[in-house]
């Protein structure tokens, strides 16, 4: 079965391993093997927090190298955009030539979300908007920063956009399943390896 790296802020959930199992079960339904960031076998004993962090980062890169595709959760995370670790992993997978799929549980368009986040935004002389730091608010009618959306599109992946209820903002899996369906079309009928 093709291995799908499960990128996203899921690792920060209260019970990440239980959530990972839910995702892996869904993956199997569609003929994929889910690979969760916490699956990396790492010996962190005796390491400083900094050394442990770097070891984890390296382990995640190795897991992506071992995968055939990525499905990333890009629900906005502590600000108007996705988690930066997830964004990094999407770019990493894209440069390796992997198809990158993504889902967000926030259906608001990126520039509207950024305006809502940025108190004190104003209109520039050229009609574009800028925030209180005088940084332009991009307005391409996309779900997030253009690199993320463009990477998914260029790679042959699919972006699922869905408005989940607030309490299930990070755990709703309808968009994730939409990505699995699209991936199973791309990878063809599931070939069960024994």
């Amino acid at each position: 079965m093709p291995r799908v790296y499960l990128a996203g802020p899921d690792v920060f959930l209260p019970d990440p391993l239980a959530f990972a199992e839910k995702k892996k079960d869904l993956c199997r339904t569609y003929g994929f093997e889910g690979v969760f960031p916490l699956d990396a076998v790492l010996d962190l004993a005796g390491l400083s927090p900094r050394e442990a962090g770097l070891r984890i980062a390296h382990g995640n890169e190795e897991l992506i190298r071992s995968a055939e595709l990525v499905i990333a959760q890009v629900t906005p995370f502590r600000g108007p955009s996705a988690d930066v670790g997830t964004a990094y992993e999407m770019g990493f997978a894209r440069a390796l030539g992997l198809p990158v799929f993504a889902y967000t549980n926030d259906a608001q368009e990126f520039s509207a979300r950024t305006k809502a986040f940025s108190a004190g935004f104003r209109t520039r002389a050229d009609g574009s908007l800028e925030d209180a730091d005088h940084l332009q608010i991009e307005s391409f009618e996309l779900a997030d920063n253009l690199m993320l959306v463009g990477g998914v599109a260029d790679s042959g992946g699919h972006l699922a956009v869905r408005a989940a209820v607030r309490e299930e903002r990070y755990t709703d899996l309808v968009g994730f399943e939409e990505c699995l369906k699209a991936a199973s079309r791309l990878f063809g009928p599931a070939t069960k390896s024994t």
Copy 2:
């Protein structure tokens, strides 16, 4: 001269091309050719905003493929972390095997910054912290998410961390120059190509 892709939210500054010229001048001083995202020659006439955004994303990927290294501005952007487009580009460059350098003009440690951002964070039973969405606040004593810092370290790059004054938060170039110095050591004495 080795081409260095200049990643960062610099494209959102009020006069991005003037800022790009400052960076390119510094690059030349250290034997590098600076490549700015807006250098991509793109015909966006007649495109919808969405189509234009995707075209720009593809152009940026091509520019990174044409470069030998990346220097990314990872100063926190609309939240506790770097700009996600920049994070994507760092991962992209890393997977291509390029050395990735980065600088931030915010010297606060990532978990402290995330706590300051996250109203209503609390301590879990295991002693770790979580925010109001019940998402853990990672604490690896790094400058940002571990993927960004790990990618720089693994690639042989350098991360410059510096506290700039508020008004020059996105334009201070001392950390950028520190990256150029580190890059010139990695790439050896500047070889002037004519």
